[in-house]
């Protein structure tokens, strides 16, 4: 069985999470992580990061922009009819 240490497990983490690894590699990672508090902690923070980034960067479109976008597009379309391609 393939020997997994932290560095190789970290390298394969996304492929592991998406089910893109061969069963023996997958089993080797699971065996390593089960016995490695560092990897367990690392994986927890790796999984948590996208949610933190998503929450921190979600900006709703302002209502006045919704209104002005359609108007701006109407004006711009006047001289930008679809081309026949």
């Amino acid at each position: 069985m393939r020997q997994i240490v932290c560095v190789s497990g970290v390298e394969l983490l996304m492929e592991y999470m998406e089910g893109a690894l061969a069963p023996d590699v997958r089993a080797a990672i699971e065996a390593h992580v089960a016995a490695c508090p560092r990897c367990e902690a690392f994986i927890a923070s790796y999984r948590e990061m996208p949610r933190i980034m998503r929450d921190a960067t979600t900006i709703e479109m302002p209502a006045d922009l919704e209104a002005s976008l359609l108007a701006a597009l109407r004006a711009a379309r006047g001289d930008a009819r679809p081309r026949d391609e």
């Binding site: 893109a20 902690a41 923070s45 990061m49 980034m53 960067t57 711009a76 930008a80």
Partner: protein, 201 residues
């Protein structure tokens, strides 16, 4: 005129819009504008997003007749918005941001993670430690510091929450390439958050 979303599929609107029905085009704008705005903010900035959104929909309008329907309309919208965002960044040509490489995880000679388990959990606490505005600013700065290829893949996959297969279609690369780019971005951003919260990568 705004048509309720459930009434008609994207493809029906696209066909009508390509045939010159402006109401159908505007229905597509209304349906996608919030998603495009959010994406544009993440790929550029809140300040630049309105221009990116407008340019994206203009390009969609101009090229409606080239949309063949062999991809989902949403994939096409994300592709155009991503390209417009990238062009917009390049046009700004600001001083290149410092790369994030120093924030990669560190390993000892045996390949073991160097930091302790407690230290490795620190990035998960960044949203408790920083105030909301500060975190918003730093989170955007982290996205800005990613190389273009990683930024696009990360924003689409982890922030817009497209599947890896969808991101692959948007970017025109293999799913394995998406995973590689997103993974690298995750390592870099995770390490950056760790430093923000007072830890190490």
């Amino acid at each position: 005129m705004i048509v309720p979303a459930a009434e008609s599929s994207d493809e029906v609107f696209v066909a009508r819009a390509a045939a010159g029905d402006d109401a159908a085009f505007e229905a597509l704008v209304v349906r996608y504008q919030r998603r495009v705005f959010r994406l544009a903010c993440r790929l550029t900035s809140e300040t630049d997003a309105p221009d990116v959104v407008q340019e994206t929909f203009l390009q969609i309008y101009r090229h409606l007749s080239t949309f063949r329907g062999d991809a989902l309309f949403s994939t096409w919208v994300y592709r155009i918005a991503t390209n417009v965002g990238l062009m917009h960044r390049r046009a700004r040509a600001r001083r290149p941001a410092e790369p994030l490489d120093e924030f990669l995880p560190r390993f000892d000679a045996d390949g073991t993670l160097e930091a302790t388990p407690d230290a490795l959990r620190i990035p998960s606490r960044v949203d408790e430690l920083l105030d909301r505005h500060e975190l918003a600013r730093k989170a955007q700065a982290a996205i800005d510091r990613l190389p273009d290829l990683y930024r696009e893949a990360f924003v689409l996959r982890d922030l817009e929450e497209l599947s890896t297969a969808e991101v692959a279609l948007v970017l025109g690369v293999e799913p394995a390439t998406v995973r590689q780019r997103v993974h690298r971005a995750r390592l870099l951003v995770r390490g950056y958050l760790s430093e923000l919260a007072g830890g190490r990568p």
